[in-house]
Amino acid sequence: MKALHKVIMLSILFLANGTIYADGDIEKLLNEFNQKNDLSQKTIDQNKGHLLLYTRDRLERMHAKTLKDVLRTIPILPYKENRYGVPDPLSPGSITPYSSNLIRLYIDDVEITQGWMGSGLIQYGDINIDFVDHIELYAIPPSFDTSVEPAYMTIFIYSKVPERDSGGKLSLIQASRGSNTQTIAYGDKVSGESYMINLSHTKENREKVPNGTDTPLSRDFDRTQMFVYVKNENQMFHLQLIHKKSDTLAGLSYDATPLLSEMDNINLHLDYSLKFSEHWKAQFSYDHLKTDLWQEDNIPLLVPDGLFDNTLNTITKNSTYSAELTYKNVWGKHHIAMGTKGRVKSLDSLYIQKVGSFPSTFNKESILSVFMQDQYELSENELITLGLKYSYVTRNATYKDDNLFQVRLGYLYTNDTWSYKTYLFRTMFAIDPFSRHFSLIREQDINPQTTVGFTQELAYHSKSNEIRLMTFFLKEKNNFSNINRISDTKSFVSVMNYDYTLDTSNKINMQFAYARYFDIPDIGDLNIYNGYLMLSNTYDDFSIYNGLVWNYSAYDKINHFDWTSSISWDISEDLSLTLKGENLLNKAQTYNIFRINPLNGSFMTPLTLSPFDQRVSIEMEYRF
């Protein structure tokens, strides 16, 4: 901690002296230009919800290389993995297949979904973000014109544009335990058509997790990803491909002592958007996921009815087809958006070794939504917004259908320095088809989760300072993460942000968040605190970043500190070297994986592990 203290003091000293090295007038103009012309200024929709913004400048300063580097800093629900080692921030560590379907992910305004498996976060939660310009995270259900399925939090990723990133880039990273990443990208604009291709390969050798046996749990992975787009003013086409072969930590082992725990995923995403007039837009997308799973234990596995004994090898294929048509127009002071969205999730096939092709009676879920949203200009500075959405979810076999009704009422005020917004909403979520069908506790007819919420946000901003306070009150009925689902769950969340920009070279970002969950079974009220302090300084050709993320939960009563530090040297305009350390104190937040004694069904001492490895990396980046 002494080293960390010295680094923070040194960064503040740099910050205090920042103006010595830069000319005031031009620096001011450049800073103003950067702020007003950041690409995020063109994509932010204040009415989507409460925004946490990671601009390109900030991502570069943080030296964020994966989405995990960003998600580790979000308030209250920071990045977490589940017992299969996949990104799952809402995971309670239990045996549920996946818990983060209420967090939805979009790239260039198109949702990435795994359909049958749920949110795209499973595959994309820790992807390489070299192709990314900026990231917008919105808390609370987003405006209805953006989402097909309901969400609590939406992550909007926007890719780089050749207008600002033309040409090629090669990046090579070598990290602890032999981990390495290679990325090559090229983008350009030719006769009004922009294109970009980004290829990357990551071999990640993660820290092992002791489980009391001679074979500690592994979560290593090998991932190849491709991101391609072609777009012009009216049309956009994306192709994304991810192949990830990973060790799945505890996997389907009751007591987290698997003999074999591996998974191989191939994920394809295609989408096409067309603006065929000033008001109309159509969008189509296709997602396909093929999963090969190998699990083995010396006792029966965690699968329904103990059907597959001690070994399990499955090949699952599922496809998702999404389409939407939206219309926007302005009538007087009414800004109207309306449209319809549809999605079909299909379990194409399930092959089980020893059994063969396994016919599942439940293999299709379809969603059809209609929505309408009015944003009414109350005055020059005020806006009232009302959104309504109805979704009909139909399932084949004997599974029951759902009617989901959502409503959101909001008020927004803004002037040159102050802004305020507040929302009152009611939203309903259906559990994902995979959990519904394959969860150990069989949830065929589980009712939708209903959430009622009231949120507020007050912000002040000047040229150098931005201060923001957000508060959320939520009441949930039939909360999916609440095992007994008898009582309602209530929570209160408050987040405060402070960003200080001294000049283009020196910045401070701070966040403090507090959450209180009421009447949790066997626990009572639970308080969670977290926050961060980020300092970034540039001096001549060197950029220094220090970020300290703090987490405290009344559950384990331990303060967790996750310190990331990096120094980059711009050797020339085209070549740079970066040395980065992550979780340097080895005290980053932890989570539990529950273990069950197979002999008597009782809970064993859970495994405690951190999703963040202690890691040092060196990167060479070359532009051509």
């Binding site: 000319d23 230009f33 200024q41 390109r56 900026h134 207008e163 600002r164 803004t414």
Partner: protein, 148 residues
């Protein structure tokens, strides 16, 4: 009213449009440092810049190279076409770019204002400025280099 328009931004608007005020502020500064005059004639094919420059009282948009004092070039295709234009019209305006790669490719371009890692960068090359007998104010020292 402007604030509410920002909130109501329709997604069909042009994604890469520049903010006029901040764009004019920085380009007024750059151009006046290059020519030392309050008003300057500029030729550019860059749509976003043309849109921003239309609101300026100090920048006069020119439709041809020979009548311009400064040419702002943004693509390789433009650069090739301009070279031909210069030869045919015996023109010799000051060349400036919004793309660092073009600064590398052409020795006739005196400077660039471009994006790198989400931050705008301003760069002038001294020998190329000297060719035009341009002497920048001392405050530009951090932005002037001798060679690429």
């Amino acid at each position: 009213m402007k604030k509410i328009f920002l909130i109501l931004l329709l997604y069909y608007s042009h994604l890469y449009a520049l903010d006029t005020k901040s764009t004019l502020n920085i380009y007024h500064e750059i151009f006046s440092s290059l020519v030392g005059e309050k008003s300057v004639s500029v030729y550019t094919k860059n749509k976003e810049l043309r849109h921003a420059f239309q609101s300026s009282k100090k920048i006069v948009l020119s439709d041809n190279v020979e009548n311009s004092t400064i040419v702002v070039v943004s693509s390789k295709a433009e650069l090739i076409a301009l070279k031909k234009d210069f030869l045919e019209n015996n023109a010799n305006p000051i060349m400036f770019t919004t793309d660092y790669r073009l600064l590398q490719e052409s020795n006739n371009i005196v400077g660039a204002f471009y994006w790198k890692k989400g931050r705008s960068q301003l760069l002038f090359i001294k020998p190329r400025l000297d060719k035009y007998n341009i002497h920048l104010a001392p405050k530009y020292k951090p932005f002037v280099i001798d060679e690429l």
